[in-house]
Amino acid sequence: MRIAIEHQIVHRPTLRGKAVVQMLRLTPDNSDDQTVVHWRIDVDCDARMRSGRDGFGNAVTMLYIEEPVEAVTITATGDVLTSDAHGIVRGSNETLPPALYLRGTAATPASEAVTAFAAEAVRHCDGPLAMLHGLNAAIHRRFANDGKAAAELLSVEEAGPCDLAHLFCTGARSLGLPARFVSGFVAGEHDARPHCWAEAYVAEIGWVGFDPAIGLSPTDTHVRVAAALDAAGAAPVAGEAWGDLVPLTGETQ
């Protein structure tokens, strides 16, 4: 599938009157099932950009704006060719072993409630792959249309768009399976929107994607951009919560 992406972010620096230094994770990488035909990042002011990699192996763009600005509009544009691999991730850039992705983080702390939920979800599942599908389906069934219930389970006031993926990571880790958060884009009927899902590691298969928002594995509609222990590590704009991104629109050309 050929997916055209145009994604715009308006970034408002929290420190007024200072030079802007930001780290962006907005560039998809090539893998066996994802080919970036072309990609560019533009900003609407005088800026310098440098590309590099973070510790998790994700492509990052450092954005340097010397003159203080009220807001900067960042636009990522490109075409990506994808093929359906039933969620299996092949040929991705890996810097860390799966065992690292068993650790919890501030956004994905081990919790008795989530552990119990995960155990219940996989009660009739046999083997890690079936357990992960069971967990994914259970999260989708229970929470995809009920943010309140998710917030309750996570003991937070409000569940955000990345909490389903967080929930999947915490649940899979509680089952002893490495899991991570993935940020990227998903192609809809008319446009490609920013999206997030999760991946878990299954021995002998490798990393497999699970999208609790749809209750299925990602298909060729998903464009993978960055993966990390949680949303903060894979954030398109470092230090900014997912929900703060304004506006979340993308247009298919």
């Binding site: 030079a19 230094v21 930001q22 780290m23 310098r48 440098r50 590099g52 990699r53 973070d54 510790g55 998790f56 192996g57 990052v60 450092m62 340097y64 010397e66 810097t95 860390l96 072993p97 065992a99 690292l100 068993l102 650790r103 222990l229 903060a232 590590g233 470092a238 230090g239």
Partner: protein
């Protein structure tokens, strides 16, 4: 409170009637200098320290924000050959620490070879995935190490802790020596003491040696969290004596993956940063997003190879208490030889058998928090009350993985001036080891900490410990006309005094 039979560094064994021959002169000096005179000199030294502002803050004590660490006038002496052997052990250990860090954030051969359990690394918050795959310039990670040691016999040294992050205390080594040269010059005529005053020069040379490739005359800075930090005096002292700028995060800005320092004359490119801030507060884009102490973009500049950070980010995995018990295996693995410096036997309470043993022997053991420091959250079994022991028993049963236990060592003693006169007190030792592009060097001296309370084994300054000067003796003089370094120092001091 029990007293522990210990090796006295001047008298030798417990029952010895005469001092060790090499140190007879020190005993004579103690015998011939009246306590009142020793006390006068000690007070003079402490007055100077207070004037200089060498203070530290005890966390949790609001009234004692500005306290000086008590200084003891009686030096501790290492013989030349004792020191030579100890140095070899330190070099081997620090080389292994550097090799370990380079490996664990790179190829991770040590895990493939099954030397360490992988979950010990990957489950450990001190292993920082944020910097995986990044390599510091010239592959040096732990540029400044302060290896904490205790001694139980002439050549029996044990490592208590490898401080490979931001070890402090070197300013005490230097200030204590200055005070001793001024107040007890006669001791430097009796003993040929190796000079420590070149430490700032050596540190600067170390910094310059690890500057990124292709930098001609590197600009070096010291990065401090600010004057509220308990070691701020040391930060400013080191910057001052090296002749480099002392900066806070707000003074640095990253542009185009290059670190710049804001000065009144404009931006100056920075090549080497001796940082005295923790990893968490280095770069809010990579570590804690709420950090006001950090420099946004610093890790990007580091990843691009444009700046050296001393010590490298991520070093906490090398000196973590959970890793400590594996250090002998780590040294063996990277050096291919037996460790020359021993570890203290350690029971990992996360292992059920060890926990059972520890619970049965609480009154003999020292129990420590895996993630604690500064003597907080520590039980010294032999000197603890019943209530303290029971408190720890409950804590151990509740959270065994948070604790390790070690035997109570008979820490060596050194004569120390206390209220009742000169009496033996337990000491530990922190030598400072520098690693640059061209290898490892051990500063001939260090920080001796002394437990001022009789029988106490806790030397931490936050727990009422003091410091002493640490003499390292040079080999016997080959030619009488050679001016010793100490004589040079003394004439410098004299001149300073004359000014």
């Amino acid at each position: 409170m029990g007293t522990i039979a210990a090796f006295d560094e001047i008298m030798g064994g417990l029952d010895a009637a005469a001092p060790r021959p090499e140190l007879a002169a020190l005993q004579r000096w103690l015998d011939h200098t009246p306590d009142t005179e020793l006390r006068r000199r000690q007070q003079s030294a402490e007055a100077t320290f207070r004037q200089l502002g060498i203070t530290f803050a005890v966390y949790g004590e609001s009234d004692a924000a500005e306290r000086i660490i008590p200084f003891d006038i009686v030096p501790r002496v290492f013989l030349h050959d004792e020191w030579a052997r100890l140095s070899e052990g330190l070099v081997q250990r620090v080389e292994a620490i550097n090799a370990f860090l380079d490996d664990i954030y790179g190829e991770r051969k040590i895990l493939r070879d099954g030397i360490l359990p992988p979950d010990l690394i990957f489950g450990n918050p001190q292993f920082r995935p944020e910097i995986a795959g990044m390599r510091p310039p010239h592959g040096v990670w732990a540029h400044i190490c302060g290896i904490d040691l205790v001694r139980t016999g002439p050549d029996d040294f044990f490592v208590l802790e490898d401080n490979a992050r931001t070890p402090s205390g070197v300013s005490y080594m230097l200030e204590n020596r200055e005070a001793m040269l001024r107040l007890c010059p006669e001791l430097f005529r009796q003993f040929r003491v190796a000079a420590v005053d070149s430490y700032p020069d050596r540190l600067l040379a170390t910094m310059k040696s690890v500057a990124p490739h292709g930098v001609g005359e590197p600009t070096c800075v010291v990065l401090t969290p600010g004057h509220y930090n308990s070691a701020y005096y040391e930060h400013s002292f080191l910057a001052d004596s090296m002749g480099v700028e002392l900066v806070e995060a707000a003074d640095l800005v990253v542009d185009d993956d290059i670190v710049w320092m804001r000065t009144i004359a404009g931006r100056v490119k920075v090549d080497v940063i001796y940082r005295r801030v923790d990893d968490d507060f280095l770069d809010p884009l990579v570590f804690r997003p709420d950090s006001m102490l950090g420099v946004p973009g610093l890790i990007a500049a580091y990843a691009a190879g444009n700046v050296a950070i001393l010590n490298a980010p991520g070093n906490g995995i090398a000196d973590d208490k959970a890793i400590y018990s594996y250090m002998p295996d780590i040294v063996r693995y990277y050096s291919g030889a037996e460790p020359k410096l021993r570890n203290v036997d350690t029971w990992r309470c996360r292992e059920p058998e060890s926990l059972a043993y520890v619970l049965d022997h609480l009154s003999e053991l020292v129990v420590k928090l895996v993630d604690g420091s500064g003597g907080y959250g520590m039980l010294v079994g032999p000197t603890a009350t019943r209530a303290q022991i029971e408190h720890f028993r409950a804590a151990l049963i509740a959270e065994p993985h948070r604790y390790i236990a070690q035997p109570t060592l008979a820490l060596s003693t050194v004569p120390t001036l206390v209220e009742s006169g000169v009496a033996p007190r337990h000491v530990d030792f922190r030598p400072f080891v520098l690693t640059g592009r061209n290898g490892v060097e051990v500063t001939p001296g260090g920080l001796t900490r002394v437990a001022l309370r009789e029988g106490s084994l806790v030397v931490n300054s936050s727990q009422g410990g003091g410091t002493k000067d640490s003499f390292v003796l040079m080999p016997p003089e080959p030619d009488s006309w050679v001016q010793t370094q100490t004589q040079t120092q003394m004439s410098q001091i004299q001149m300073q005094g004359d000014r």
